[in-house]
Symmetry: C2
Subunit: 349 residues, 2 copies
């Protein structure tokens, strides 16, 4: 088929009997195109459609212009099944808002091979987009720092801090939500709590723990037990079984769990508790601090809080577009989590 090269602005200029500069003004000169006479403008557009012109994004972004494209980059794979339930609503929100604003969405997955790093092969693919929404718990700080240094506009979904840098994000109020959960448990009469967190040091993990400590403090309780669960979950069940035994010995009546992005830890806990003959919530109250928790029919309805994930995705896009228009300092947005009653929390025995 006609494999002739794509028509360029020069071709259009030639066809319409004007200069390339004029074509550029008509095609992409948002408000500057008011300088172009109406009949010229029409002639250019006519030639453009006739030749099937499309802007060359590479050239445009080389020059520094806008592509009407936003990017979405995830440090964790968004699509694999086990985490899909968690990340999908973000994608949904980002996609929806992007479309609403007349942009297209570029999913950066080419980098997904091996470790996910923006600069992994030395190049920064992200820049083909006008700006980018970032996502994921296990981020690479140096990549992020480089991104900031380049002045590339991006918004993180989730609170992220970098020493000496202010970056933009839309983040759930994990501190408040976790504190509220603690208060709820203590209101029910629980006095000995346990807290189970992943081993990482990311902000979401730290924020929840901070909320836990704040809640404990507020309730006037002494310091409570905090345990770490390594990311490598090969022996998760054995560890949980050991923890469970210890909790029972220590008189723990309620446990709060930071579930990461999937529900493996929760599922493992449920199995281990069942094996130990423990009923939830009669013998042990369990509160889940976020997570996907689809709570399909048949599954347990965990007492938890949820993130307004789709809205967060939309908000991130809105923030990003604000930054594109006016890059003065970072934009930040904190969103409240929603408490879900569930049936895994009760009064202590």
């Amino acid at each position: 088929m006609s494999q002739r090269r794509r028509p360029t602005q020069v071709d259009i200029a030639h066809a319409a009997g004007v200069s390339q500069a004029t074509v550029s003004l008509v095609i992409s000169g948002g408000h500057a195109s008011g300088q172009v006479a109406e009949h010229t403008r029409a002639a250019v557009l006519d030639a453009a459609t006739k030749l099937g012109y499309t802007v060359n994004t590479a050239a445009r972004s080389l020059k520094g212009g806008r592509n009407k494209m936003l990017g979405l980059y995830a440090f964790e794979p968004v699509f694999p099944v086990d985490q899909r339930d968690f990340y999908f609503p973000f994608l949904l929100g980002v996609e929806g808002a992007t479309a609403d604003f007349g942009y297209d969405l570029l999913l950066f997955s080419s980098v997904s091979s091996g470790e996910r790093r923006i600069y992994s092969d030395g190049i920064n693919r992200l820049k083909v987009a006008d700006g980018c929404v970032l996502l994921g718990r296990h981020i690479d700080r140096s990549d992020l720092a480089d991104l900031v240094n380049e002045g590339f506009p991006f918004v993180f979904i989730g609170r992220r801090e970098l020493p000496g840098v202010e970056l933009s994000y839309v983040a759930p109020d994990y501190v408040g939500a976790t504190r509220d959960m603690v208060v709820r448990l203590t209101d029910l009469g629980h006095r000995r709590l346990a807290y189970l967190r992943p081993a990482d040091q990311q902000e979401p993990t730290r924020d929840r723990e901070a909320g836990f400590r704040a809640g404990v403090d507020e309730a006037g309780l002494p310091e409570q037990a905090v345990h770490e669960m390594p990311d490598d979950a090969s022996d998760a069940e054995a560890r949980l079984a050991a923890l469970l035994e210890r909790w029972l010995a220590d008189g723990v009546t309620a446990v709060l769990i930071d579930p990461l992005e999937d529900d493996r830890t929760i599922a493992a806990l449920e199995r281990v508790a069942a094996e130990a003959g423990l009923r939830i919530p009669e013998d042990l109250s369990v509160a889940v601090l976020g997570g996907p928790m689809p709570s399909g029919p048949g599954g347990r309805d965990w007492t938890r809080f949820t993130l307004p994930r789709e809205e967060m995705g939309r908000a991130a896009v809105a923030l990003l577009l604000e930054i594109l228009d006016d890059d003065t300092g970072p934009r930040r947005l904190s969103v409240a989590c929603t408490a879900v009653d569930g049936d895994s929390v009760g009064r202590p025995r």
Copy 2:
């Protein structure tokens, strides 16, 4: 924030005391870099790492033509909830394969406002990608024809025909799958069947109907009833109730349904049948010809066939990349559907 621009090859050249061309040879001259002396090469690489050089992809692809981007365009919105279950696996497959091949995926959603047309603003946005996967039942034929005329590489998911044009697609074998379903019903003893199809004239609709007629023919039955259900489903239930009554009067014992991309028609039929006191499959066998049919716990497990949707997405990408490498004639792929037993089909009363 240090708004300094990124180092370029010129900067490195300056630092290493060589020319920009030499830097380019070292950095990206795959086999041509053998021409560069070892000590020069080392000096360049040293300067590159020292300055934190990263390739500017925009410039590179401006020079080379390819963007390493594939597009995904859907004539129906992919993300809205009611059809999400149907389209999502395609997206999954397309995204996965795209990533595997080292490409990024551009979701064309900016056009989603109003009617979905590729050329809505006169210019063809799709071309920003190297090629495009198309999706959706209600396509715009003229847009498609224009796309072909431009020589733009694309692959349709689903069989599409254009008069005088050969286009590439990966399509499910609706004819065969539907015929098999008819055979199965007649093998069970059904002699009077009804067929319910959408009102459109798209290939998937026609193919299934063709399969139905083929199966009926093969079973040696006379012509069977075929009914249309308008897309506007405002009075769907009333229509279905009327149809149901008629089927009973005519002695119909089994009905085959082309469900479009959502399960509204099926859900409506189930309600109407229940209201009429009809049990499925005891009083009426129902076979579903495709559709999302998540069959979650609690829902009925419909007798149906399913499309290998994720694989189809992957295959479409593979075909597209073949075309990009070697654009000689259209590529076509037919994939078999998988029969799902389910419990909505039984022997006739």
